[in-house]
């Protein structure tokens, strides 16, 4: 396929993916908004007012970047894993495999679909947060860059999960037992500086910590990164490293036919 044909094919996959999650918007776009609203009411208004300040920020202000990232991560991941596994399960992935599409277009198409949903949910959550907290963004380009990279990374994670999954149980195990604990322990609701040892050191192994704090840095202009002695460049470098790693593994698996070819 020439580059123009590849772009047309990529646009078809992306359009189809966006159409899929928009068609079921009651399942894909509304629940994150309601969930985040509950977080704001319970943790922000009721409990947050008793917590007081987190560093130099109100607890509600501190929570907003973490909650946006939490929504982006879980929605990017779940969009790709459910969509691609659904296609595998219904055998409609064969529609793509019999065409001249290169594997990297299939991968990029699905990842962009996950990014589209992740960013859309992120935007919805941001709007909801405006009802509860003032939001001033310290560095817009950085905020968009970090949220985009994070969405790409977790879309790739969802794709890998879908490739390995053989049943619907397999697509809920990783989000439930790996992703959710990492998100909740990744500094969404608290500053890592509050943790004692050894939990503080253990938390440094959680990649989500760097993403949440990079984004918090872009929104608030301050985060745990400085107190941990980690520069923003290192945090972003880690996200890029994992993107490269997950992309390579996904492409290798697609090329060998793992999970999609007999």
């Amino acid at each position: 396929m020439d580059p123009i044909e590849q772009i047309r094919a990529l646009a078809t996959i992306l359009r189809k993916e966006i159409h899929r999650f928009m068609r079921i918007w009651m399942q894909t776009l509304i629940p994150p908004a309601i969930m985040i609203m509950l977080y704001f009411v319970i943790f922000g208004e009721i409990i947050g007012s008793r917590i007081g300040k987190m560093g130099e920020f109100d607890y509600m202000q501190f929570m907003v970047p973490g909650l946006i990232m939490m929504s982006v991560i879980s929605n990017s991941y779940s969009n790709v894993v459910s969509s691609f596994f659904g296609q595998k399960f219904a055998r409609s992935v064969e529609e793509l495999l019999i065409t001249p599409l290169p594997n990297y277009i299939i991968l990029v198409g699905w990842v962009l679909g996950g990014v589209a949903r992740g960013l859309m949910v992120g935007a919805i959550v941001t709007v909801v947060s405006l009802f509860f907290s003032e939001l001033t963004v310290a560095n817009w380009p950085l905020a968009i860059f970090v949220v985009f990279l994070t969405s790409v990374l977790f879309s790739l994670g969802g794709f890998l999960n879908a490739l390995f999954a053989e049943s619907f149980d397999d697509i809920s195990i990783i989000p439930t037992f790996v992703l959710q604990p990492l998100i909740y322990l990744g500094g969404v609701f608290y500053s890592i500086t509050l943790l004692g040892e050894p939990f503080r050191t253990i938390s440094l192994a959680n990649p989500i910590l760097y993403m949440v704090n990079s984004f918090r840095h872009a929104i608030l202009g301050a985060s745990d990164l400085a107190s941990l002695g980690i520069s923003l460049n290192v945090a972003i470098g880690m996200i890029l490293f994992f993107i490269a790693l997950f992309s390579s593994i996904s492409l290798w698996l697609l090329n060998t036919g793992k999970g999609i070819r007999s």
Binding site: E5, R8, A9, I98, T99
Partner: protein, 312 residues
């Protein structure tokens, strides 16, 4: 140039099942070719390898002279496949399913829309373009599969049991449609369990059994090998006795039906005149089974027995 060329193709699945044992196959450009075999013979594995749904263990496959390993993308552009099972998202609208398939081949939006419209109208599903596919009958879903396979205007079309489970009306309209596109130059490979279908449509045939090609010839040549043929006569009036006719084995099936088995080279004229002379009036006549069916059963007899009774 061949539409399809397969050389020493082997497939061993994980677990050791040897599905293909080094098959060779040539399908000429413009041919209407039947690939037949009992269940599990290797037909779908062969089609799966050609369409990249199955990875081959070894061997070579060329589509219109293009090696699928050397130029995978170009080879696939020339191919359309109608799979055995429904393999599209049934929650999508019919028009979207077919237009998206065109998009995966990199067709421009305009070309995709035009091709979609053309084949939907040809296959009589244009009225259903805005309906969710899951709401349609099995026959309609089959038509969607065919339209999807044709939307990129392939030079080689492979159909894996396209008429399985569809009513006779649709089957016949599909036959006419396939004949039309074959006449316009598209090479077609057909697998089917309806041997009448293969006999009616295909010019050449290969029979695969236990992962090996056991027959590969023209339909005409194969049918001339028929040693015996059984004909059934429906009678206008009941009979209780049959006249004895030398060299012919006549049987009463019921008072209004008789059958006769004739050897290769024997004619039916003698039977007609003797029955007529005996006052037996014939209403109609037909083959007891399809001619191809008799040959097919002879060629793959052992596998079918194993299927019915299990391995010993």
């Amino acid at each position: 140039m061949s539409a399809l060329s397969i050389k020493n193709l082997k497939k061993v699945y994980q677990g050791g099942l040897e599905a293909l044992r080094g098959i060779d196959l040539e399908v000429e450009k413009g041919d209407f070719f039947a690939l037949l075999g009992p269940n599990g013979a290797g037909k779908s594995t062969t089609i799966g390898i050609i369409s990249s749904l199955v990875t081959k263990s070894s061997g070579k496959v060329e589509i219109l002279g293009i090696d699928i390993d050397d130029n995978h993308s170009l080879a696939k552009k020339k191919l359309g496949v109608v799979g055995q099972e429904v393999n599209f998202n049934q929650f999508e609208k019919v028009g979207d399913i077919i237009r998206n398939q065109a998009g995966y081949y990199g067709l421009s939006f305009r070309e995709a829309r035009e091709n979609t419209m053309y084949y939907m109208k040809k296959l009589d599903i244009w009225d259903k373009r805005n309906e969710q596919a899951r709401k349609l009958s099995g026959g309609m879903k089959r038509r969607i599969m065919v339209a999807k396979a044709l939307v990129n205007k392939p030079e080689l079309l492979i159909l894996d049991e396209p008429t399985a489970g569809v009513d006779i009306e649709l089957r016949r309209s599909l036959w006419d449609f396939l004949t039309e596109i074959n006449n316009s130059g598209t090479s077609i490979i057909l697998t089917t369990h309806y041997l009448e279908e293969a006999e009616r449509l295909c010019r050449n045939i290969a029979i695969i059994d236990n992962g090996e090609i056991v027959e590969n010839t023209s339909m005409q040549e194969l049918l001339t090998r028929l040693e015996v043929e059984t004909f059934v006569f429906d009678l206008q009036e009941d009979i209780s006795n049959l006249p004895k006719i030398e060299n012919y084995e006549l049987r009463i099936e019921n008072p209004k039906k008789i059958s006769v088995t004739i050897q290769k080279g024997q004619g039916l004229n003698e039977i007609f005149s003797l029955l007529s002379n005996s006052g037996i009036k014939i209403a109609s006549m037909r083959n007891e089974t399809g001619r191809l069916e008799e040959l097919f059963l002879g060629l793959v007899e052992s596998t079918i027995k194993e299927e019915n009774h299990g391995p010993h």
